[in-house]
């Protein structure tokens, strides 16, 4: 931001190891660099590019869905393929885009922010990334096998999923591989955070991004194996004669819902807690004030994580649970609004009377704050049992979870990329294009998803390729918004590539208010190896 800040902190630059010869060795050239790399920065970069590719792929499927829904009647796809589009769009965005993007951030930032040279298990880190590729190929390839890709919705509910063709087996295998990758990544992150912090970096001094990832990694270790178990049961029901969920053999299809959502609800927080961490780094930097209520932020994150294990029933209010069960899940769900509210109020208090400037990362962070809160409120509406019973499986639910996942998780990821790209690449992005990207995203997103609340309240069911005429108007607007949102992401792609190729050099401390170790202790551009000798944190 300012040259003054550059000179101000340059005295704190990391000069450890500058005399050592290996500090000057860069990465080897060519493809093998990426194949064999154990460097946390390289692996973080690969995760982020992988996530971006999957994001564009899943986004293309979303635009296919919106094109079909632009007007009533069947225009482009037959209904079976439409169902495959919604299913794989969901799986790709959850497991291919949002989760790997956050793991990419963790790889880049966790070692830098705690003053460690690398992750605890660099070789395993490489492996967890490269496992993603076969999983993605299985998911994408399932479109080209007889019967088409899985069409049961991303939740893979039986009995539909037990009856479909070989594509479901490919999907199940992909989920297994992604789960293994996530568990390895999580073990790596937890071990790095707990064992490899620089001297003086106590747990309660860690930046909030590190805290949220520590808690997220524990959630992943606890629930990814449960998902692996659930899809394994689907697999044995399909091929090996078991009847976990097959009613004809004495099984119970609603059992799958219970097991899936025991994974599924913590999974929702896996996708939002790191976003909370990123936002908690960005808002103080641009408000030029320390984060308000740091300790309460840590405890709120932990409370959300713990509560996430006892609310899975709110995804299945309509399966016929007894009233006592429905009420328990309703009250437990509403309880989560308390720690979440603590966080939102803390963010607002951080901005209060701050000397704010509105560069692109801050715009996306404020966009996150406003829109995520809308998504949180529609979540509270859906937590009310009698309301949910009428809104279940309508577009109201679709609107709700896109407000928390797109304008929540994704906006935080975009904000984080704009925020850290100058540090990572050593070059500054184009601020004008960034702001254009923000405003087009903001308009496109709200135009796409806000009307879906109205559609849901009017009773339009989700996962259908055709609809009654009274829904036509809002669907048209929603599709227009989706196309604006989708194509404005190409501005983002262009901006990132242009920055890396030919951006102006960035400053060592690009953002005046940023105070974590990567800004205060490391030069820009960063050397390939950082904190070979750990910094002393006071």
């Amino acid at each position: 931001m300012s040259t003054a800040s550059h000179t101000h902190v340059s005295g704190a630059l990391d000069d450890h190891g500058h005399a050592e010869a290996h500090d000057h060795h860069g990465p080897p050239a060519g493809f093998t660099r990426w194949m064999y790399t154990t460097n946390h920065k390289d692996i973080g970069t690969m995760y982020l590019w992988f996530a971006f590719f999957m994001f564009l792929l899943g986004g293309t499927m979303a635009l296919g869905i919106r094109a079909e829904l632009f007007k009533p009647g069947l225009q482009f796809f037959d209904p079976e393929f439409f169902n495959s589009l919604t299913t794989v769009h969901g799986l790709v965005m959850v497991f291919g885009a949002i989760m790997p993007a956050f793991v990419g951030f963790a790889n880049w930032l966790v070692p830098l922010q705690i003053g460690s040279a690398d992750m605890a298990f660099p070789r395993m880190n490489n492996w967890s990334f490269w496992l993603l590729i076969p999983a993605a190929l299985l998911l994408i390839g399932s479109f080209f096998v007889p019967g088409g890709a899985a069409a049961s919705g991303w939740t893979l509910y039986p009995p539909l999923v037990i009856q479909q063709g070989i594509s479901v087996d490919m999907t199940i295998l992909a989920v297994h591989i992604l789960g293994a990758s996530s568990i390895m990544g999580s073990i790596n992150i937890i071990t790095t955070i707990l064992n490899m912090r620089a001297p003086g970096m106590t747990l309660m001094k860690m930046p909030l991004f590190v805290w949220t990832w520590l808690i997220t990694a524990y959630l992943l270790i606890a629930v990814m194996p449960v998902l692996a178990g659930a899809v394994t049961m689907l697999l044995t029901d399909r091929h090996f004669g078991t009847s976990f969920f097959n009613a004809a053999g004495g099984g119970d299809p609603t059992m799958f819902l219970h097991i899936f959502w025991f994974f599924g609800h913590p999974e929702v927080y896996i996708m939002i807690l790191p976003a909370f961490g990123i936002i908690s780094q960005i808002l103080p930097a641009f408000a030029r004030k320390p984060l308000f209520g740091y300790a309460s932020m840590v405890y709120a994150t932990a409370s959300i994580a713990i509560l996430s294990f006892i609310v899975w029933g709110h995804h299945m209010f309509t399966v016929g649970m007894p009233a006592a069960g429905n009420l328990f899940f309703m009250y437990a769900t509403m309880l989560i609004a308390v720690p979440t509210g603590v966080k939102v109020f803390n963010w607002i208090a951080t901005m209060w009377k701050g000397e704010m400037t509105f560069e692109t990362p801050m715009l996306f962070a404020i966009g996150f704050l406003c829109l995520f809160t809308i998504g949180g409120f529609s979540g509270l509406v859906l937590a009310i049992v009698p309301v949910d019973i009428t809104l279940h499986n309508t577009y109201y639910v679709v609107a709700h979870f896109h407000y928390v996942l797109v304008s929540g998780a994704l906006f935080a990821i975009i904000a984080g990329i704009y925020f850290w790209l100058p540090k990572w690449s050593g070059k500054m992005y184009n601020e004008g294009l960034g702001k254009l990207h923000f405003w087009l995203s903001m308009i496109g997103f709200n135009l796409a998803f806000f009307p879906q609340h109205f559609l849901g309240l009017a009773g339009m069911p989700r996962r259908i390729p055709d609809y009654a005429l009274q829904f036509a108007e809002w669907n048209m607007w929603s599709s227009i918004g989706a196309f604006i949102f989708g194509f404005s992401q190409l501005i983002f792609l262009y901006n990132v590539i242009a920055t890396i190729r030919s951006g102006k050099p960035a400053e060592q401390k690009q953002w005046e208010g940023a105070d974590s170790l990567e800004w205060t202790h490391l030069p820009t551009p960063m050397p390939y190896h950082t904190f070979v000798t750990p910094p002393i944190v006071r």
């Binding site: 605890a120 999580s186 937890i190 064992n195 490899m196 606890a222 990814m224 178990g229 016929g320």
Partner: protein, 176 residues
């Protein structure tokens, strides 16, 4: 990274792997756990509701059916095990009769049903009855025989008591 940290890292990885494997087992354990817990605290109430009520029963009124037994020219023991049953029209009821063949020879006999009031007979629908065919009893045999029947729902509302009577007649051995 020095050797001590590396050792610590490996130990922590071991612990975390134990959690992961444990949770995989927990995922499978959830299947029997859900069944046991729901049965133990009666939370699978939906299934009970689905199985019970029969809409073809008229629960608004009760009919008493008195059970009588007699034999014509057969000096053996024939009796109803229940004196009377109370039932709702439409409800399927099972009662039992007993024959003790005290005659010291094989007997083939046929039972005939009649009711009082006589007009009530057309409102009784039998699903299973020993009166449908000839019964052969060995000397000294004791046999319990069920009658499964219901009172039709279109029976008049003032028909509150029906006497259901069976009478055994011996079938002559050579009569065919």
């Amino acid at each position: 990274m020095n050797a001590a940290v590396q050792l610590e890292n490996r130990r922590l990885m071991g612990k975390l792997l134990v959690i992961a494997v444990g949770m995989l087992g927990f995922g499978f354990a959830m299947v029997p756990m859900y069944r046991q817990i729901c049965q133990a605290i009666g939370l699978d109430s939906t299934r009970v509701v689905a199985a019970s009520t029969n809409t073809q029963v008229d629960a608004s009124r009760e009919v008493t059916v008195e059970l009588l037994a007699s034999s014509a020219g057969l000096p053996w023991r024939f009796e109803a095990l229940d004196r009377a049953v109370k039932l709702h029209p439409g409800e399927l009821v099972s009662v039992r009769y007993r024959v003790v063949n005290t005659l010291g020879r094989e007997v083939t006999a046929r039972a005939r049903m009649n009711t009082a009031p006589e007009a009530a007979e057309r409102y009784i629908a039998k699903q299973e009855c020993f009166c449908f065919s000839n019964q052969t009893f060995a000397a000294g045999e004791t046999r319990e025989m069920p009658v499964v029947f219901r009172v039709l729902t279109d029976a008049p509302r003032d028909l509150s008591t029906i006497s259901l009577s069976y009478t055994f007649f011996e079938v002559p051995a050579k009569s065919g």
